[in-house]
Symmetry: C3
Subunit: 264 residues, 3 copies
């Protein structure tokens, strides 16, 4: 029987972040063209190490070396499909976790078919908005582009079903983020509407999820910690800025300086 | 008979921006590798919604859904040609406007031939610097790279001719921007030389033009409003910064906060 | 016989930067997907002019027109290989200098084999970290990703050997940068550890090296001047910021405003 969502603890987030900064995980990012630089800078700011290696042969080599892999289908093309499959198979063989960000899955054919193929390949985690998680789970969606037309809570049943079906931790993000393993569910609060005016905050969160799933321990809690690190830093940054331009530098500084006190 | 350029009104710009923020147009961007993130952030700051969908099949699907399409040839390759043609044909079938940014057209073969092909496909607007507009119109150009070697006023006859030939609104931008439908011509002042030290300000303007041509009303005025929003925010931002690095966050904040008072 | 490293002079750096700002070199960048925008903005800030032209045919045309070419293999794919070879051959035919940044060369096959092929094609300069320079020189390396596991001084013998073998100026960068033509060696101090938390600072340095090798005069000194401009601006910027987010705008402003006084 499904439990009700429980608010995730700041103390556990602080402990996971502390662990991450010691482990300094190397995250192999196969992500979209728009957010490459921001994604890398977010990973560097939290203390992880990003690398974008995109040739199919090299991607297979590198996925076995890195600590985790991110697959984001935001600007998917046929050559990316080949590289992503090579990397996912290699990560699986090497026992390395990988994370799927199903950007705008639902209405667009190539990414939707490919993402439905990918979820058969044992992702460690899937991070999307409500319409993306609904679409992956086979439920209907109202999204037109990358912005979700659905509320994250309403997609929680779809998230639980997707988690049960794939074995992945599923994070459906929105005003409140819900993280589930199909049975348990953690709720993560924070963030700010201004973050939706900055490209790549969701995509970068998926990369941070990849960094955190490289850690040992309870994977459900590690994914929730990733969400909480980003929502906490986002909320703190938004209190200090006038708009989406000044958000980016302040957000990266805040991630870099984030400590247990702020998280609790 | 051609009329003399007339200064475009701040009140009309404010009205168009107000309209844009209500309409929240979804802009499909097929743009170059260098400016993807900045372009998306500029569109988000003004209240539009960007999406980069680049696979040929998906680009065709998405161009029919989006409110406008941007085609920027700055880092054109053969695969981009295929996706851009698919998107343009789909946009035309669906009755959605599309905008061409002919980056560095003139000396380089692939983009020049392709852009000459594209202008036969009824763009709603074309935005370029003087040497690019001259090159597209068949007149000679002195540009070597993406920076124009020509003055925007001297390219106005070329712009008028290109507008008459294609049916597009043509914006030739520089110290002063001129926007013409082949007969009428609006002049847009503002901006600052510092903006030429920040990559992507011209490319992002073309994306903003795409957002504004999605609005109903006089398309000539809508394109001029796009130019004025960017030149006004650029000028205001430059008054507050020490150099091109601090320009970007302040510019995005200024776009986000821009109101009728500042525009008039 | 090899001379000991000599600290490079601030006065020579200031003179080279002054020269660069008058010459305004056009730098053709074939670089990785992650750092395109930052690279362009760094070149614009120092007074050079960037252009990314990536189709193989256009890359060959443009390399003959530009003042220098950068080849960075950070996100190498087979289509990039073709464009890079076309551009390098064209630059060589036209007598234009080109610079190699062998990102993460060592463990990954495509880039390693390709970079070993490229160094036969008379690069003007090669800029890498210790593990990359060791790998190119045939000595063993400990790097796992783009971060070097080696100390720059320990790689100086490899750098000298690589310079002798290729005729290139080799810059091995780290806490201290060493620049050698195989006999002479200049040491460049400055920078800050925070710069390793910002993606693209090394890649952008290679683009700046390309801008400086377009200048006449002693190429060894010009490469050292490029390193010193970046390390000086980086050090000054780090004194003013709280973290890696605010670093980027302040760094670009500092490059833009950098003068002889600061460099000496």
């Amino acid at each position: 029987m499904n439990t009700q969502p429980v608010d995730f603890s700041g103390a556990l987030t602080a402990a996971a972040l502390h662990h991450l900064r010691s482990a300094h995980p190397l995250v192999h990012c196969l992500t979209n063209d728009v957010v490459q630089s921001f994604t890398a800078n977010v990973l560097l700011a939290i203390g992880a190490s990003p690398a974008m290696v995109v040739d199919p042969g090299e991607a297979a080599q590198f996925a076995a070396i890195a600590d985790a892999l991110l697959v984001n289908v935001g600007t998917l093309t046929q050559p990316h499909v080949e590289a992503m499959l090579a990397a996912v198979h290699s990560a699986n063989l090497a026992g390395k976790p990988w994370v799927l960000d199903p950007v705008a899955v639902g209405g667009l054919s190539l990414r939707t078919e490919f993402s439905l193929e990918l979820i058969q390949l044992t992702p460690a985690a899937i991070r999307g908005n409500a319409s993306e998680i609904r679409a992956l789970s086979g439920m209907s969606s109202t999204g037109r582009g990358v912005d979700s037309g659905d509320d994250s809570l309403s997609a929680l049943p779809a998230a639980r079903q997707l988690a049960q079906q794939t074995g992945a931790i599923v994070a459906v993000t929105g005003d409140i983020d819900y993280v589930t393993d199909g049975a348990r569910c953690l709720a993560v609060r924070g963030g700010d509407a201004l973050m939706t005016r900055v490209v790549g905050t969701g995509c970068a969160l998926s990369a941070v999820v990849a960094a955190f799933v490289a850690l040992p321990g309870d994977r459900l809690e590690n994914v929730a910690a990733a969400c909480r690190v980003m929502s906490c830093a986002g909320e703190l940054a938004c209190q200090q800025v006038r708009g989406p331009g000044s958000f980016t530098p302040v957000f990266l500084d805040t991630l870099y300086l984030l400590n247990g006190e702020a998280l609790q």
